[in-house]
């Protein structure tokens, strides 16, 4: 049976993309699968009694070594901030390519804690910083120093000891350019070294809290229970900085979504289903019910989504228990058709993630397709004609062409780069200054303008000639031709309208990272948790890949 890929006009709507969940394709999970057989080691721990100092961890296999260098610093409570405007953090990290020398560590000690205003070199691969959770870090240290384990319920409300506030890679601030390392097989999946950094930072948080407790009360202190540690992840606070990424990297966006859609299509095409595979899915769904109960947020927007998810998840489990017949051919396709009619977006996309769990053979080959060589499709095909372009616009931007940008509400916002932090921001065109410096992220508006501009041009006119007088629309002409080959390259929505929820853009990206527990703090930033429930480094070899659905206390 041939199942069609889902229509990009359905999948690429922001409300749908903002309902995506982590899956077997997510980068943190594929990172763990790739590195499970690497040798993990804590190479150095030089912390004072308050936990300040340097710690180094490494992953190695044959001659390849990656080292995480952690710098833990003293800051005051007033200095601690998750916002990008902060200049000091509880800890700062860099992932080093190889084994750092003493000179490297001295050089990095002066630069890594400064983050954006420091300078890295081509020897460093990723850079990050993190802040302690004020709610629980000191509490955990106190409990451990008194010989007690912390209250699991208290920990469950937070989910992590530290929260990262940015993770940088790919040449930022002097870090190694991607091309220097792109041929390494172990990092073929996107953001793999960023995931390694975050994973090792998680281990640092446990080592640091144990060290502080032990220093405080050497005789009585106990170490954090491994089961409790496993159920703690790393928090992350993410603002608008991440949103333009998915607009600026259309090919990468396509490849991420395409991998997910191909996985779904192949699962729907499975003719004969094993009972054990269905059992695994049902177990994951049931475990998720408890985890979703622990999904805490004060956001009305997210609470409403969680409530719908809970209700629909009950329906989905009921469907599996009462109507799903694994003996019948193509039952996953029947399931999908039912789910599309009966479930909201949040649960539909949750189901798409969960049904991938048993199918390593389908998912695994797709991981390597999720990177992109964007330069290959950068050059505009100048010999194509206006007729070709018109066809692409009418076929791939159908809904976008219906948006009326003369209406104020459709044109309300503009994206800009803040002078203060060189980070993307969103403002109201009719109230705030700076719209003349708008970033090229109003794709829907510019596509409409392009469509209007070509309406009076001859069909046979080549794009090369059209560009002679229309270079102001060059950026969207390039994108249009990218969508011709890559159907999931474009968000099928207006990114400057009054109804825009920027957190939908953030959530899309974070779901591919493998984040859980999305907790919007406004419509422009949210907190999430990564690696919660993940095996500890010394357990990597023996843990199965479905850890993410394990019950988290």
């Amino acid at each position: 049976m041939e199942v069609q890929l889902r229509d990009p006009k359905e999948v690429m709507k922001l409300s749908r993309l903002g309902s995506f969940h982590q899956s077997k394709l997510s980068f943190l999970r594929s990172f763990l699968r790739e590195f499970k057989n690497w040798k993990y080691k804590r190479d150095l721990l030089e912390l004072d009694e308050n936990g300040f100092g340097i710690v180094v961890y490494s992953f190695r296999k044959k001659k390849r070594i990656y080292s995480l260098i952690c710098f833990a610093n003293k800051i005051t409570d007033q200095e601690r901030s998750d916002r990008v405007i902060a200049t000091k953090w509880d800890a700062a990290f860099t992932l080093f390519d190889g084994i750092p020398t003493k000179q490297d560590i001295e050089r990095l000690k002066k630069n890594v804690p400064k983050q954006e205003v420091g300078r890295m070199s081509y020897k460093e691969l990723t850079l990050s910083r993190a802040n302690k959770s004020v709610r629980i870090f000191n509490y955990v240290a106190e409990c451990l120093s008194n010989g007690q384990q912390p209250d699991k319920n208290k920990l469950a409300k937070v989910g992590y000891l530290y929260r990262t506030t940015a993770v940088y890679g790919s040449g930022k601030f002097g870090l190694a350019d991607r091309f220097r390392i792109k041929n390494r097989e172990e990092i073929y999946g996107p953001f793999r070294l960023e995931m390694m950094l975050v994973y090792l930072v998680r281990q640092f948080t446990f080592d640091q809290v144990n060290h502080i407790a032990k220093s405080k009360n050497p005789k009585k202190a106990v170490s954090l229970d491994p089961e409790i540690s496993r159920n703690l992840g790393i928090g992350n606070s993410t603002g608008l900085g991440m949103a333009p990424f998915i607009v600026n990297h259309p090919l990468l966006l396509n490849n991420w979504i395409m991998a997910r859609e191909v996985a779904l299509k192949k699962i729907r095409q499975i003719k004969k289903i094993n009972q054990s595979d269905v059992d695994l899915i049902i177990n994951c769904l049931k475990s998720s019910q408890k985890n979703i109960e622990n999904w805490n947020t004060e956001s009305d927007y997210q609470l409403s989504k969680i409530n719908h998810l809970k209700k629909d998840l009950d329906l989905l489990i009921q469907y599996f228990l009462t109507r799903f017949d694994y003996k019948k051919e193509f039952s996953y396709n029947d399931l999908y058709i039912w789910a599309r009619k009966s479930l909201g977006s949040e649960c539909l996309e949750f189901m798409v993630s969960v049904i991938m769990e048993p199918y390593e053979k389908i998912v695994s080959p797709l991981i390597k397709t999720m990177s992109a060589d964007e330069d290959m499709y950068f050059t505009i095909p100048i010999n194509k004609t206006i007729s070709d372009l018109r066809n692409i616009l009418e076929l791939n931007y159908t809904d976008i062409l219906k948006i009326d940008f003369t209406q104020k509400e459709n044109n309300q916002n503009f994206w800009f780069i803040s002078k203060n932090k060189e980070e993307p921001r969103l403002a109201n065109r009719f109230k705030d200054n700076g719209s003349e410096l708008e970033q090229p992220l109003a794709i829907a508006r510019d596509i409409c303008q392009l469509y209007q501009r070509i309406s009076n041009e001859k069909n046979s006119l080549t794009i090369g000639k059209f560009l002679m007088n229309n270079n102001d629309l060059r950026h969207v002409i390039r994108r249009s031709f990218i969508t011709e080959k890559f159907p999931y390259a474009e968000i099928q929505d207006n990114t400057i309208g009054s109804k825009l929820m920027p957190i939908d853009m953030l959530r899309l990206k974070l779901s591919f990272f493998g984040a859980v527990k999305f907790d919007p703090r406004s419509d422009k930033w949210l907190r999430i948790c990564m690696f919660q429930g993940a095996p500890l480094p010394n357990e990597l070899k023996t843990t199965n890949d479905h850890w993410v659905y394990n019950l988290i206390n």
């Binding site: 040449g171 991607r178 270079n471 102001d472």
Partner: protein, 202 residues
């Protein structure tokens, strides 16, 4: 050291800031990255050009001909963009000339990328400085100073037909050597070693 990613981003933003459209700014980010990767002083030349870009007037050519001459110096970026966009027509001219172009080094990456589109090398002569642009894979040049070139009086762009750098005789000599790795087949091997069926058309 600045990474190529930083160069790309900063050049793109700077280009927009001096007045180029976003689509052209994107091209410039990639171009300067390319020049720097090939060891040519792209950023230095762009910076010098942008310092005078708003004060001076430059000829912004749109339709490129076989011979292009102007009293006002050509803008290398607009000339480059249009060269790239018109490359399939220009290729037919065998040779294209420009007289009077500012900061001609900034013109080079557009030509380099054009070679990839047409699948032919381009030989470029800028007042005696020679560049061979190879399918956007490399740039071979006798210009090694790393200086800023503010103005070119004469630029010649020559499209090089695809042909080998060696003679048929030289090829034959090498081919004969390569035959030293082949095995002489017996009649039996001729029948059995290829793995085909017993009849040719079964």
């Amino acid at each position: 050291m600045k990474s190529f990613s930083e160069i790309d981003t900063t050049v793109k933003r700077a280009s927009k800031s001096v007045g180029f459209d976003w689509g052209i700014a994107e091209e410039l980010g990639k171009n300067i990255r390319l020049l720097e990767m090939f060891g040519l002083p792209g950023l230095k030349n762009l910076n010098a050009y942008f310092k005078i870009y708003r004060q001076k007037q430059f000829q912004k050519i749109s339709l490129i001909s076989k011979i292009n001459s102007s009293n006002i110096a050509y803008c290398p970026i607009i000339a480059g963009i249009n060269f790239l966009d018109q490359i399939t027509n220009l290729e037919k001219m065998d040779e294209v000339g420009f007289e009077n172009m500012s900061f001609p080094l900034l013109f080079i990456p557009f030509l380099s990328r054009s070679t990839e589109i047409i699948g032919k090398r381009i030989f470029l002569n800028i007042d005696g400085k020679e560049f061979l642009l190879n399918f956007n894979q490399s740039i071979y040049s006798n210009f090694l100073s790393g200086d800023i070139i503010e103005l070119a009086k004469i630029i010649k762009v020559k499209f090089i037909e695809n042909k080998n750098t060696f003679s048929e005789n030289e090829w034959q000599e090498l081919y004969e050597l390569s035959e030293g790795t082949f095995v002489e087949e017996s009649e039996q091997l001729k029948k059995s070693a290829a793995g085909a069926g017993l009849t040719d058309n079964d």
